[in-house]
Amino acid sequence: MLIGYLPAGYPTIEKSIGLVLAMIDHGVDLIEVGLPYSDPLMDGPVIQDAVSVALSGGATTDSVLEVVGAITDHGGSSVVMSYWNPIERYGVTRFTENMVARGGSGLITPDLTIEEAGPWITAATEFHLDPIFLVAPSSTDSRISAIAQQTRGFIYAASTMGVTGTRDQVSSMAPQLVERVRQLTELPVAVGLGVSSGAQAAAISQYADGVIVGSAFVRAALAGGVAAVGELAAELAQGVRSPLR
């Protein structure tokens, strides 16, 4: 499974819709729609800059839901990726209801620990949305188990200790982490952080159920718009589905 991230509203709301639809058309299985936030402390410079452009352009939580709706209308699937404060401010129940109405399937929360997630998990359960949590190479086994118990859809395995951004090599910690997760849960595991090429995607697909690509799509959007994003999606999709598998 290929999962591609782009922030809603980058470079504009309309254009961000065009970009994610191109991703779907070129083989991305699930779109991770980023909710632009003023203090993205898990993101590297590429996504920081993109999010800043989106916010300056007036992107809001409603814009994110608009992008989700457009993806659904196009026949695609999406989850939202958001830091916690905008969701809490919007209202957890209100957000959950609107996500369901727009056809979104889940929410990735990179700064929400399971200990603080009670109200969100309750709402997600009621509305059949997937709460998607992250595990990291530093997570203990008992913590991975606890996180897996609260997660639905898939587990997001952060491939390395660090922030988002493309890297020449995907960390060697990733296979070990995925292996540990597999011992502890039946949930599908997707690997993210640092993936940018078809070759990397192919390598990860040999041991993980999903490959998550973010910064590389933002760079492609910046460099060549819809065409470049489509091209990257095609390359990654081929990697994910390569016969190496």
Binding site: T61, N85, R89, V92, T113
Partner: protein, 418 residues
């Protein structure tokens, strides 16, 4: 269970570790959870060991210069309706502010955890200087993140950090101030947590930071309580402090929390005035939200995006506040008021001219508060103000404010800081 949409918490959360009522907690990337658990355990173990406490006390006495005096401000009192004003002299600590108390504690913990590097954020530069100092003392590598805007207005402290051997990284993202420096320090920490401890400089951030930083600053309140009982034979009517993140205030407040007769007063930065929108008044104009790892009062818009703060004081120029302050505010145990730039600068000038003490501009907000408090509580009242830092770093800003001609040479040097 859930009481409202915008304030998500259960009634049980009052008893949860790492929380202050609904506030505090941990809102961080999963990658940091194990480091925070490790820190929490190291802190609790150290705090239970007499040997560690002795080591810290020795450093406080021999290196910081504690106890810091409690100075009666007789002439300044005349501008406070004659109230008996006492200054807790944290400005006399080594490095010139209260910040060293927390930093020494965390630097010792860093060594105990076997880590070789510390990172820190800084606004006014006082926490950065203190961290660079402790790193030099204990042989730790040190990187300090500072908003580019703040590196300009606090250029002298940037130079001090570099002289102490620290790397200073100007942060150009966002509003280029303290908030963005914290973001960048967090990003560094996620990537380097194996060998690096993040010496967070105030009583905010994810648990256990708010509790731990308060603990290391509680020496301020303990000393002040003992000192005022010795000199006045009674508890003060009020204790006052400026509140950015709120560490100097929590340090002072902590010794008086259970004394219901002692009013706790915090003064946040009103900037150009709360009505102008250019301020850092989280209680006057913010609302509960999540920022930098904790639920607390945050300056935010209707979408939950952080609003940039403004203050003449770099150290108070922050859109969040320590979660324990949020709880003290909601429960009514402490009272928080904004103090505008101009009101703070008036107090800055008055203390300088009446007591021969040039305070930090941050601290001047607390002094302006004392002037209000004197009017409120009357001439017989006893008030302790935390003189949290000295004003050497603020000479250029203050000279500009008061129109003092610094002369060509000095101006050129200070202009670097502009």
């Amino acid at each position: 269970m859930t009481t409202s949409e915008n304030l998500v918490w259960s009634e049980n959360s009052v008893q949860l570790p790492g929380h202050f009522g609904p506030y505090g907690g941990r809102f961080v990337p999963e990658a940091l959870t194990s480091a925070l658990d490790e820190l929490d355990a190291a802190f609790r173990l150290a705090a239970s060991e007499p040997a560690f406490l002795q080591q810290l006390a020795d450093l406080e006495r021999d290196y910081t210069g504690r106890p810091s005096p409690l100075t009666r401000a007789l002439r300044f009192s005349e501008y406070c309706n004659g109230a008996r004003i006492y200054l807790k002299r944290e400005d006399l600590n080594h490095t010139g502010s209260h910040k060293i108390n927390n930093v020494l504690g965390q630097a010792l913990l860093t060594k105990r955890m076997g880590k070789s590097r510390v990172i820190a954020e800084t606004g006014a530069g006082q926490h950065g200087v203190a961290t660079a100092t402790a790193a030099a003392l204990l042989g730790l590598e040190c990187t300090v993140y500072m908003g580019e805007e703040d590196t300009r207005r606090q250029a002298l402290n940037v130079a001090r950090m570099k002289l102490l051997g620290a790397e200073v990284v100007p942060v150009t993202a966002g509003s280029k101030t303290l908030k963005d420096a914290i973001n960048e320090a967090m990003r560094d920490w996620v990537s380097s947590v194996d060998q690096t401890h993040y010496v967070l400089g105030t009583v905010t951030g994810p648990a256990p930071f708010p509790e731990m930083v308060r603990y290391f600053h509680s020496v301020i309140g303990r000393e002040a309580r003992e000192q005022i009982l010795a000199v006045e034979g009674r508890l003060p009517d009020a204790v006052a402090a400026c509140v950015g993140g709120g560490s100097n205030a929590m340090g002072l407040f902590s010794a008086f929390l259970d004394d219901s007769s002692v009013s706790l007063r915090g003064y946040e930065a009103g900037g150009d005035g709360v009505e102008t929108g250019r301020h850092a008044a989280r209680f006057a104009a913010g609302s509960p939200g999540v920022l930098h790892g904790a639920r607390t009062y945050v300056m935010q818009d209707e979408w939950g995006q952080t609003i940039s703060s403004h203050s003449i004081s770099a150290g108070l120029d922050y859109p969040g506040v320590g979660p324990e302050h949020a709880w003290l505010h909601d429960t009514g145990r402490a009272i928080y008021e904004p103090v505008n730039d101009s009101e703070a600068m008036t107090a800055f000038s008055l203390l300088s001219r009446t007591e021969g003490i040039i305070p930090a501009i941050e601290t001047a907000h607390g002094l302006a508060g004392a002037m209000r408090l004197g009017a409120e509580l009357g001439p017989d009242s006893v008030i302790i103000v935390n003189l949290s830092g000295r004003g050497d770093k603020d000479v250029a800003t203050a000279a500009r404010w008061f129109g003092i001609d610094l002369g060509d040479v000095v101006s050129a040097e200070l202009a670097e800081g502009r």
